[in-house]
């Protein structure tokens, strides 16, 4: 299920610290990835276009263009999974990073295994899955085709947002706690930072809801978590 296809291993490392970049390269290469290093934020976008990475490892503190800006810029063009590397565990920095479009974050100093696990979770594919269509609200989801349509008009979701939506839509009767979503969508085995869920639900809503203030697709169940709106609602 978590099989890594050969072309699903290109990782762009955007980090100004050459030692750390080199070390990351060594570790990633030993794990079968194909890493490339980008030392400044200004070049990051060009590298993304040229290298077409399957995943971006992005340091939040960069000389030149800030990591948050880089993240926003990449998101403007591509849904490529982005994992932030951050030295700050302060809430505000992490939330700002996530809101700028990062899928996940890893706080320095991290263990190589932890990082690789995060990478794999974001790179996993569903190639073996049978064709499956789901309905949530007025949306049609083609799971195998990775597309979401509202009245035949496609909506553009990042892979993570797509996974989140599919997870909720598969069991519309079930209320998902943030911890369960973290495990099923992000691949965390232990309960981690539930802010990840909050931020990405907001991002997802801004794309799929007709009125994000008054959601009909992703409903909040106060004090518990989230659930999918029924096929009829919305």
């Amino acid at each position: 299920m978590d099989a890594i296809r050969p072309h699903k291993g290109r990782v762009l490392v955007v980090d100004d610290d050459s030692s750390l970049s080199e070390m990351l390269t060594i570790v990633l290469r030993s794990e079968g990835f194909e890493p490339r290093v980008c030392p400044t934020g200004d070049q990051a976008m060009a590298m993304v276009r040229e290298f077409k990475p399957d995943l971006v490892l992005l340091d939040l503190m960069l000389p030149g263009k800030d990591g948050v800006d880089v993240c926003r810029q990449i998101r403007g063009e591509s849904g490529v999974p982005i994992i932030m590397l951050t030295a700050k565990s302060d809430t505000i920095d992490i939330v700002v990073g996530l809101e700028s479009g990062a899928d996940d974050y890893v706080v320095k100093p991290f263990k190589p295994k932890e990082l690789v696990a995060r990478l794999r979770a974001r790179l996993r594919t569903y190639e073996d899955e049978v064709p499956e269509t789901l309905q949530i609200g007025d949306l049609d989801i083609d799971v195998a085709g990775h597309t979401v349509k509202r009245n035949t008009a496609p909506l553009f979701l990042t892979p993570l947002e797509f996974d989140l939506l599919v997870c909720l839509a598969r069991k519309p009767w079930q209320v998902f706690t943030r911890e369960v979503l973290l495990e099923q969508v992000w691949g965390y085995r232990h309960a981690a930072d539930t802010r990840l869920v909050n931020v990405h639900v907001q991002r997802l809503r801004s794309k799929v809801e007709r009125d994000p203030e008054n959601p009909a697709i992703v409903l909040t169940v106060r004090g518990v978590g989230y659930k999918a709106g029924g096929p009829d609602s919305g």
């Binding site: 030692s19 030295a87 700050k88 320095k108």
Partner: protein, 577 residues
């Protein structure tokens, strides 16, 4: 379900007390209603300088006006009456002389009945017109009979209508009878015995019918109605003037105190706003008087405070910034080292023994270093006041389960097992889930480190206003006095042995800071060789007061619910901020 079953039997037991206290409440309530205006006035009196000054001035000026009015009235009365008396005495003296000379005449001598000449005398003496005066002339006598009180014989002869018995004072008659000469007295006139009293001056003298040697009393009665009218006018005037004076003085006092009190009240309001954090608030200064100078000084003080606070805020900001920078600068190389070390550690079997061991040591110490760095950064965040709570509803049972699950490998390694007592109902508090879990983790890790392989007992208990977690071990324990020291930074129960135990020495300090952030209490109990117990009490709502309980030094740790082991308000290692 259980709670619902318990309610009915409890109700009848409680009911009589409720009634009694209900009656008491009613009494107390009515007492409050009755006394509330009094209390309002008293409160107003206590709080308001203006009220005290105005009421004081009112009272004093009333006393002053009363005294002045009284003195003035006495003076005027005396002056008026003295003049009247002098003229009355003169007029009476002339009358007496005329009467006596008339009675001395021959023709009176011839008469045996003195009635006719006396009537004649009255006609002569009585006022004939307005100009000659308004008075009454009375003859009483003979005086011997008057004193013997024989009315039929001394029936008075009057020049006008008057009830003599009640109008002429008996003392005066006695004086007239006792010796010749003129006497006077003030009296009240009655036209009939039932008539109301009119003030008057009575002047009297003896007149003697020489031929018969019989003495009669001749009395002049001067009514004082005019004088009384004047006096009442003066009295009314004085009353009015006094009232106006009192009102005026009170108004002046009110205005003057307002001049002083208004800026003081303004200063109070501004001070309150300053205290509430609105540092830019200033008093409006006008003029150069004392009040203006007070305002200036006040503003200077506010400015000084604002500068100081801004400076401290700036310092705190710089400190926080520094911590963030240090954090970043340290973490990036540490990450590289960490990854390199991991790589070496994974490959250690390919190395020779000393190098492999070195890789292991590097790995272990790197773990410790990392833990230490994390803890230090956390502590410095507390010290900078930068720690903030992210509140949500946290079920402490879940937090405890998470921590135990994560730490069961360590427990197995050390030979300890967890004995858990957790209630069935949720133990939900408003708290920062990450911090609460960290507190519990620090307590559990501490218990494992010092538990010497003994079982670690974890108890969660829910109370109406708080939730409590007790972590108890049966290891080395604490010596007396160490119950508070144990929370100090880098404090070690046994310095010689701790290096092998690992840990950063900051875990419990951080736990205390986290607890205080929630407004909770973290305390410890311990006996040497018998283990230690740490108890965390968190209020259901952050900052809600926990009912304080007396310090208890017990041989066994008290039950989770109840008195604290040893109250600890702040890490003794930190200077108060």
């Amino acid at each position: 379900m259980e709670a619902a079953d318990q309610v009915p039997p409890a109700t009848p037991r409680v009911a009589p007390r409720t009634v009694a206290s209900g009656a008491g409440r009613w009494l107390a309530a009515s007492w409050r209603v009755l006394t509330s205006p009094v209390r309002a006035v008293l409160g107003w009196w206590r709080r308001s300088i203006q009220a005290r000054v105005v009421i004081g001035v009112l009272t004093l000026s009333a006393v002053l006006a009363f005294l002045a009015g009284w003195v003035l009235l006495t003076q005027v009365t005396n002056g008026l009456l003295d003049g009247q008396r002098k003229s009355a005495l003169t007029q009476a003296a002339q009358g007496f002389a005329a009467a006596q000379s008339r009675l001395d005449q021959e023709d009176v001598v011839a008469e045996s009945d003195p009635g006719a000449p006396l009537n004649q005398l009255l006609d002569d003496l009585a006022p004939h017109d307005e100009a000659s005066g308004d008075y009454t002339v009375i003859v009483i006598g003979p005086l011997a009979d008057v004193l013997a009180n024989q009315p039929q014989t001394w029936a008075p002869r009057l020049s006008s209508q008057l009830d003599v018995a009640s109008s002429v004072p008996a003392e005066l008659v006695t004086q007239i009878q006792s010796a010749p000469g003129s006497y006077w007295a003030y009296t009240g006139l009655h036209r009939t015995p039932a008539d109301s009293s009119h003030p008057a001056l009575v002047v009297g003298s003896q007149v003697t019918v020489t031929s018969q040697a019989i003495s009669y009393g001749l009395l002049y009665v001067f009514p004082l109605a005019e004088q009384q009218q004047t006096l009442s006018v003066v009295e009314r005037g004085l009353l009015g003037a006094g009232a106006v004076l009192i009102v005026l003085l009170s108004t002046i006092a009110w205005l003057v105190t307002r001049q002083v009190v208004t800026p003081v009240r303004l200063a109070r309001r501004i001070a309150e706003r300053l205290a509430a954090g609105r540092l830019e608030e200033r008093m409006h200064v006008r003029g150069q008087d004392d009040i203006a100078r007070l305002g200036q000084s006040f503003n200077q003080m506010a400015g000084g405070l604002q500068r100081q606070i801004r400076q401290l805020e700036e310092l705190s900001r710089v400190q926080r910034r520094f911590v963030a920078d240090v954090s970043h600068e340290l973490r990036t190389p540490l990450t590289t080292v960490r990854m390199a070390s991991d790589l070496l550690y994974e490959a250690r079997e390919d190395f020779d023994a000393p190098t492999a061991r070195s890789a292991e040591l590097l790995q272990d110490e790197l773990n410790r270093f990392e833990g230490l760095l994390t803890d230090l950064l956390e502590i410095s965040r507390f010290d900078a006041g930068a720690a903030a709570l992210e509140l949500s509803d946290v079920d402490l049972r879940a937090s405890v389960r998470h921590v135990l699950e994560a730490n069961s490998p360590i427990a197995r390694r050390r030979g300890s097992s967890f004995v858990v007592t957790i209630p069935d109902e949720p133990a939900v508090v408003q708290a920062d889930a990450r911090r609460v879990e960290r507190i519990v983790r620090n307590l559990v890790v501490n218990a494992l480190q010092y538990g010497e392989g003994s079982d670690v007992e974890i108890t969660v208990a829910a109370q109406p206003d708080s939730v409590c977690v007790v972590v108890r071990d049966h290891g080395v324990g604490l010596k007396p006095g160490e119950e508070t020291l144990v929370f100090s930074r880098f404090w070690r129960a046994d310095p010689a042995r701790t290096r092998t135990r690992g840990g950063t020495g900051l875990g419990l300090s951080i736990a205390v800071e986290d607890t205080l952030l929630h407004g909770g209490v973290l305390d410890a109990w311990g006996r040497p060789g018998r283990g230690a117990a740490f108890r965390l009490v968190l209020p259901r709502r952050v900052g809600a007061p926990l009912t304080p309980a007396p310090l208890v030094v017990a041989e066994e740790p008290p039950a989770p619910v109840g008195a604290p082991y040893a109250r600890l308000d702040r890490d003794p290692g930190i200077e108060p901020r």
